[in-house]
Each structure stands twice: as structure tokens, then as C-alpha cells.
Symmetry: C2
Subunit: 266 residues, 2 copies
Amino acid sequence: MTVKHLSMPELADACRESGVTNVGLWREPVQTYGVERTAKLVRDAGLTVTTLCRGGFFTALDPDERAAALADNRRAIDEAATLGTDTLVLVSGGLPAGSKDLHGARERIADALTVLGPYAEEHGVKLAIEPLHPMYASDRCVVSTLAQALDLAERFPAHQVGVTVDTYHIWWDDQAPAQIARAGAGGRIHTFQLADWTTPLPEGVLNGRGQIGDGAIDMREWLGHVTAAGYTGAIEVELFNDALWARDGREVLAETAARFVEHVVR
Amino acid sequence: MTVKHLSMPELADACRESGVTNVGLWREPVQTYGVERTAKLVRDAGLTVTTLCRGGFFTALDPDERAAALADNRRAIDEAATLGTDTLVLVSGGLPAGSKDLHGARERIADALTVLGPYAEEHGVKLAIEPLHPMYASDRCVVSTLAQALDLAERFPAHQVGVTVDTYHIWWDDQAPAQIARAGAGGRIHTFQLADWTTPLPEGVLNGRGQIGDGAIDMREWLGHVTAAGYTGAIEVELFNDALWARDGREVLAETAARFVEHVVR
């Protein structure tokens, strides 16, 4: 998504040029290019697909909408398996129109996971509940903290349901380091994502994620937390940012790789 | 602030017309009209000043800036005493430019309160730390949850330092009801404020607070929490909203009073 303006073949080429060997993919561009075709493309390019984003949106009240969401999430699990990744990231959904019941919405997420956890396991895929920043609680994701995500995930086996740790969503939370330890102890850190926090936030607050190093988040500190919790998996950089998307995609990828080295691993 | 486009005398008139007998004031319009003059105006109008907003901004690293902040907060305490309110609301401040150290910033808030708590007590004023929504953590307030606010407040006597409970900032937090109980048990709920959560958020996310009843927050539920915690003080409606400010102030005040009856107390 960081370079969503690149086509799939351009993405594969740009990864090769930048020395990037792992890539997290989103469903929409994969579907546009074709799931099998994308799987072959990344395989031929020597790329490992770290995660597929995203399933979720489990909070509808209408039974038909709920059935449609389950069906769509089964397809997402199938797609993940075809792409060769073992992790599907979940954005769980906001409040239904007119509802003020956060607790009920969170329980409907658990209901959906009861169905989807075993289906994912059969396909060799783990589900990764992503707590989103509380500013998305009404319209996108009623799971706002790692603690809430783990309260849900821990109702299921860790190889079925874990969490996504994304710095952008949790950096403000002084409880998050302890929750990362909790997640790691349970084998539930299914992916680790980075974006920096910059202000002012844009209208709608969706596409203002900062390039690594541009904002308020100490990336090394969070890497230290997940590492101390035993996480050894891939680290994804996921930047929704209109200003980045207005630039050349290869340049953005190269810059992101350089920032990653400078602010995260060096 | 809900009707900030009204002058002080217009505000007093509009309160009388709407049957509003309590008003929370902000420092800037009070200073513009004059502190003593405002005190006389509200006294003559039979209005009780519930709180003064706002002190705070304690997180600077520069010693001169820190001294200036302490001096300004002493003035704010003096102003509160002159206006006859016993509560000064605190917006604690964000990260200094270039800093990524949330913990250090929170400790500097405690340092300031060590000085200001006794000064406030001498003047019959209580300080009310307001946790602001996590979307303001970098640029406005590093205190993002009631738990964090209470962790700070409890270092001091309750008659010196407590918290502001504002639905807009905490509605997403499943830990907030327990923290309200904690605050109530300690006698630390120094004010209770309402605004509704509506989306999409505007650019900068400052002036998008929803009119009561327009958004995702169940106001009666939160009133229930503070009531169960023993709170019997005033309830303030504080709406930063460009659309409301574009309308006639008396009409907005009357609408707000009607919404309050419909969605909160009836």
C-alpha cells in the first residue's frame, strides 16, 4: 500500500531494484491483477508475501450482511493461501449506522472468529486482529488497543488468531509495551507494522501516515518491545499517505528502504 | 466555547433566555472582556462559573518556556478564583518539537503540578487534568487516557489535582468506566464534559466535535458511570465545531440545551 500507485509487475521490479525481498499485499490490487497471476509473479520474482491485508468488517447487525462478511473473509483466507502467506490481517469494523454499542460490536467480532478461525487453520492461515487508533473506533474498527485485540484473540488458539502490532495505532498507549509482552508470550504477534505519526492530520484522518523518521514515534523502541517479546518475523512498512502517493513509486520504495535502515535496524 | 461567537454580555443574555444557570468559561474571551468585568457580569446575571479552561502546556524542555508556563498557570488560577469557580481544567501539552519521549513529557507535567497544586489550593482552586483523545497525543496532550490522568493526579491530594471526564476523549476506551469509578472513589472527578463523536473528522481534527445526539456516544451511559462514581457536580457541554460556530449563537445554545434534556437527563 506504501507504493499502491505501482502495478504488480512494477512493484516486483521495484522490490528487486531496492533489495526488498518481502512484501505485504492488499486484496484489491491482487484481485485486479488476478490472485493466481499475482502468486506466480511474486514467486518468479523471489518475493515472499508477508501478509495479506485485509479481512474483517465483522460488526454488521443485519444477518445477510454478516453472512456476506463471512463469505468474503473465507475468500480472503483462500487468497492468502494461494499467495503463500500464512497471515491475514483483520480490520474488524466500526459501529453499524445508528448504533452506539461498542461492546456488542466487539462480541460480533468474536462470533465471526469462531467460524473463521478453524477455516483459516485448515488453510494454513493465521488471523491477525489489528487494533486501529481510537480515532477510527466509530467508522472502521471498534478494536482500539492491543489489550482489546488480545482479549478477543485469546478466546481462540494462537495458531488461529493473534494480533497485528502497528506503531501508528498504538504508539500513544503506555499499556502497549506490556500488551506486546503478553502477545509474545502467547505466540500471538502475527505481524509487526510501522508507520510514523505526523500532524496535522488530514480530513478523514486516513491518508496521513508519516514516512519512517518524519514523526513522533521512536521506531527502535517499538522494535525493542517486539524483539524482547520473541518476535522474529517480518517488519512491514505501511504508509497511507497522499503526499507519498503523488511521487514516483520506485523513489518512494527506495526512500522507505533507506529510512528503514536509518531509523529501525541500524 | 460551544457559543464562542457570542460576546460575554450576549452569552449572559442567551443563558438567561435558555434557562441555563451554569457556564464554563475559556480564558481568552474572559481576558478580552476583562477578568474582573466578566466576574461582575456573570455575578449580576446570576450565573455560576463551573470551570475555567484552560491551564496546562507543561511539557516544554526549555527552562524559560517552563518558567513561563508556570507563571501563566498561576495567572490562570488567579483568574479562576476571581471568576468564583473552584476548578481549572488542564490540557497538559504535547511533545516538544523533535522529541519522541512521551514518558519524559508526562513526568514534566508531574513536576509542574508539584509547584501548582499548593498554589491552587491556597486560592481555593482544584486542577483537573483532562485526558485528550489519543489523536492529540503528539501536538496537544500526552495524557491520553483516564488511567494516565489518574496516575498523575494521585501523586497529589485530591483537593489539589483531579481529572476532567470528557466523553469525546474517552468514549472508545473500555477501561474508562473502571477508571471513572477509581476517580470517583478518590474524589477526583473535578468536572464532567460532553461532546459527541461524529465522522468524518475535519483536517487538524480540532473542530469536529458533534452536537449531543448526533454521534456514536451513549451519553446516558457515561452519565450513569459518573453518577455511580458519586459525581454530583455540573455537566458541561463543550463543542468545538465549525458548523455550529457558523450559526446564530443563541440558536446553538437553545438547541444544545434541548439536546441535553433529550439525550442526557430525560
